[in-house]
Symmetry: T
Subunit: 160 residues, 12 copies
């Protein structure tokens, strides 16, 4: 007997909650590496990047909460423990130590770019399984694409 | 040449920043396992515990930010990346999956109790090295002790 | 001649507005029985449930307003009069008189569960007729599923 | 054994709570028909009336909550379920479908007028039974009389 | 010569200010024992009761201020010194030391119940002497009755 | 045919609205002379009195609005035109030109004292005619008595 | 010896303070007749006009305060007592009793129009005497011209 | 080399960004003509329409910003320069000069009606190209349909 | 017969309203090109410039509203339609497509510089015609000169 | 078995909690006598002192709460019951009845002076026992010293 | 080549910026001596004067910022360094050490009086050079004259 | 006889107040040179630095106020007059005239660095004299070290 019952049939729940769990790990990871860069960025653009990174962190934390609670609402316990995040998070991330401002910008563009690619696959995957979950993933994608654009615009002109 | 210069002599900085880095990991870990319990708690006291856990998370996140920025201010880059947290975080934590309300309360008492014990050691360790860092650790301890009390009071009567 | 013209062809409008009228009755009914339980709940969890029920009522009232105004916007006058709600509202509801806290929780789980089931049918029904209406129904479902989870988590362990 | 004990003797409680239950039904009914008119009003004064009706609804909802909680506080469970409201609500109300602005104004004047007449009788009835309940009914009357005036002033010149 | 002159004849002032002074002691006492329970409550319902008790304290403090200032406004200096409160406060109160949650609830029901009984006598006593003072006592009674109900509802089922 | 119909029988309306019209003039007059003193006060207590007078003005304006709208709500048009206020306002008032701080305090005590005496007569007069109007007059009296006390306390020691 | 000394030479002060005293009377009068119309307006546009009039009153009260305090700042005590306002206020004003909405609009246009004409003369008169006072009169004119336009636009089409 | 890279394949980006650019022009145009009517409306309903038009302008500006930033986020620079808006904006609009209130209402109904029709086509066109863009267009449509209804309801009874 | 009458003689009104209409076009144009640059700016200073441009847009929109309403208040209907802005707006503006950050800064300096030059001519032109209009133009100039300075300071060192 | 476990060894806890309990009594006592003076002060400085005393009360209440909760957090139940405060509170306090403004100031200086002296002893006593408690006592001392200064400055020139 | 270019011809800029630099020094000096008196005032009116002085400081700081930024906007770097303020500030100021309340009032009247006299000269001097600068100086004068009046009124009766 | 008595013995007071006076001068100086740089900075990073400098100024002003009031609370009048600041302030500061952005950053790093060094000496000096003063100096140091880090991070890479 599960603690919380689902409002979805088993197959649909499995698809939706897998998408949600993967998204949860990406978002928690983004919130940790966003803070890491927020603290360690150096260079003439320090203040701008420092503040911009905090907006990514705030967005990632808020969405992580919504995503995890939606999984619980569908009857599957979400997993956001440190070891799970460390094991499953594979997006590009800043190295240990101080990070030059242009490197912080570049790594955020790459990390968000890859996160968005995965979200778009999950949007497709959940379309028939659960349009409510799909709608949430669409909202997250819209926001991360906006964040990515702002770092990419800041990244101009790119070398090669 | 380091990116950010210190206002402390080398020895003092080493002591202070080691205390800060360890505290950072404890706080980031607490914020992750607090959220984990926040999402997965079940039982008649769900709502109370669910809300109370979010206050721990908010406190832990705010203090983590202050702690990390203080380390940076002292010239040592803080490390809060997922793999670092997973590797160095050793406080008691909830298991995967749904957590009964009394178990959530018990694990938070234990986890906060242990975090406080470590903080008190660091308060002593930093007294001569850096009273500014010590003052911050005292403030964190005061808050975590208050949080621990509230879970412990909720934990009554304890089974032996 | 109707007072407000539609932006949808006749068939689509009929489908969309039928879904909206049925949803309006469910939401107005939920707001009334949520308040009924809010006032009459008794038992050791009184305060928690009392407050939680008010969040359901607030959500139901806000969504009812949006749903009714969308029907008007599509050219069909919504009907939320007392006799209409009493006649068409069929979700599980608390009995007259004091309600024990665990009964209040149980009846809310059942009532929300059934409301969600109906909403999911309407989401399907409106997909081609009017994606704008469908989007609104998806948002309502997401919220009610979150509310249902929180009562269901509180409902643990369930008898049988 | 009742769930909530009274602070009034039996006779006084019966008088006070009968007045409160009747007032509860009037207020819940007013909140439903106020919204009905809010959604369905048409005509050149649409915006003014649409907004003014929402103020009646807000007042009616707030007072309904206070009235119901006072009944509970006196040890009698209030009844605001859909079927009760539909059965006992007898104030003038708008018809189904679009409502012309002057008709919305007229029906609100009549409905508030009748509600006020009944409240004045209950003010008298509760004077010796419970001055605390009487004081609440006086406050509700003051507000509804203000609302009624504003619709009546808007209603000028009246035909016949 | 008194410092502040009265707007009431001597007899009326004596009656009104006696009622106010007695009410002041009850309210200051309630604010102290409410805090006492707020700090010392233990048990699974800790958080709920802890927060609920603070609402009683806030209400008692606010009303105490109004009551004392009304006495001053009528030309009689109010007395809220520690020794006066200790000497004249006779409502049921929690014992020294930790208080189990159900005991905190029970003692608040009894204490509020008795405070309300006394207030109702003073409402009668001040009717002809000073309707302005009476109106204030009615408002206090309404609020304390609401508080009492919420503890009593939480107190269900009572042991006989 | 009157523009706004009454909810009171003719006799009661006449009594209630006479009390309201007289109160309206007193309050509008108080708001004008309060401002007059606010602008013209001089002396070492300038700042204290200047600010305190503005609180009287704010209270008088707010109550004047409520009183006038209640008269309208009862079907009698209130009269607050300059010539009416000048003709009917007879409370003590500051002279033209600069006013010493102790004179400003003394005239406010006298003016409020007299206004309160009249209000207490109207409270009695409206008791059977309209308890709703009476309740409003009680609230105004409570506030003006508080204002009067604060000026009177400031007026200590009084000469003779 | 005057209580407050001036920062202007005698001639300039006389010109500036005469302009300020006249403006004070106009503004206090406008605030009283604006409220009079606010309370007594009837007709289908009641709500719109009722709210719009309150904006005139708020503006008039705020400017009256600034104008009077400026006169005091220049060493001339302002006079805003009831009898002064009644004696010196000569702008068009509503009659006693209920006022039809179109009449309220018309009288406000006329009253503001005339007030503006006088202000423009005072702007010219104070140009050399005191540019600070002139600047204040310009600001008042700008606001009253905006208010006048909004009533005049509402007044369309005008008879004759 | 483009300044901002896309997260969409070329074909999808072309479809999505064409829809966004066309929507941008419609929204910027609506914000300009909404203000034009806001300033120039005359007639007895001036205040209502004046305020209602500002809500359209605020909505149009907010959505224009979101739409343009989404286009940038997809790697296509949006174009909202004066000459572009003037060239591409073709919705019905008010003439130069004063506008009677009923004409302002009528032109807004027509302009919003046409804007909605075009948005519904773009919703269909972007469904497979980019569900994130589609979701944004759905949200805009929902809001404009609400605005249109409120003007249309105000437009009753329509001539012919 | 015009819809809104003027408070100025014909000659003065013509001068004042010509100045206002020209200013309106400049401000609406600035708000459009400010947004255009806000969306399309790229380069390392993206975030700073992106935010700074939005402050220009907000100022331009607010002043445009005040300017247009002042023209209406003076009896001349303002013209802010898309075709009017496109035809009459001649300040320097960004080209279509992405804009490098230093180019965005440079074009804003030039555009504001020219706008200020024209405003200063209008300040002179309106001095005798209408000091109220002149005062508004002075306020706009003060703000635009502040905005221009901040871009110009950012523009350092300028090439040649 | 105690209800709440301590994070301190027994000796340290005893020292810290004795200091906290004594401070609690001082603060609760100060809050009661501060209010007593707030209500009973008379004299030309009434308003200033009346407001200033409320700031002491607010500070005393807030610190009392923190102090009591810290004691609970350390495992010792705080005691703030009326009889405890009356028995253990020994700071100088105002007499019964009206208090002249200069006497109110003088007694507050003495009472705060003595409270500060005791706090400084407790700061020393807790230094090794519990730096967290010491830090709290330091913060309370800082605030009370500021309050004392402001009364002492007001107390100038002192007699002898 | 200067860093920031001017929008004024050379002669006008020289006049305007000299006036601004002198005003900047006066305002920064006033903010320092206002704080000095705020901290060191003693006597029975301590609280009143202490608060009133902070309002002068806040005003002086805000105006200093506006004045300095206007100078920068006109292409002349403002100078507010400690040595500049010390060298050029010549307004009356409090002596070192405690200041009796009546002395604080007197010195503020004198200091503001002299500052106002200088501002009025600069208003004249900038009239043709730069009406925008003149307008700012007028606004500062209006505020300082209000502040001066309030201290002067408080200064009554003055010795000789 | 001093105006304000101390709560510290003479020796301790001398030590504590010397530390406070020196800190006051540093903070007032920092607030002046922070503003100087805020107004005069030029270069591509203008906006970032301009905003960041204002945060230093706000912090310096707030701490200066607390420091001065603490000195007064200890019985020693603080000295923050222009000539004192000019004489005693010796931290590095920007030169007269425009300041390039990288120079503004560099001078702030140096100035804050030196201020911090002095504060750390005073923290040591006040440890036994007055732990309350020490605690305040620790809080100031923590904040200035954070500010220094942010400028130093922005200062990367430094020229050797």
């Amino acid at each position: 007997m599960t603690a919380v019952r689902s409002t979805l049939p088993d197959d649909a729940r499995k698809v939706a909650c897998a998408a949600l769990q993967d998204t949860l790990v990406d978002l928690l990871g983004l919130s940790l590496i966003g803070k890491q860069a927020h603290w360690n960025v150096v260079g003439p653009r320090f203040r701008s990047i420092h503040l911009q990174l905090d907006e990514v962190v705030t967005a990632a934390r808020t969405f992580a909460d919504t995503v995890a609670e939606r999984s619980a609402a569908l009857g599957v316990p979400p997993d956001g423990r440190p070891e799970t995040v460390a094991r499953d998070f594979t997006l590009p991330a800043p190295k240990e130590g101080w990070v030059r401002d242009e490197d912080a910008v570049r790594v955020m563009v790459e990390s968000l770019q890859e996160a968005i690619g995965r979200l778009r696959e999950r949007i497709e995957a959940t379309e028939t399984a659960d349009p409510v979950t799909q709608d949430l993933l669409i909202a997250i994608t819209a926001d991360l694409e906006k964040q990515r654009w702002m770092f990419d615009a800041e990244n101009f002109p790119r070398e090669s």
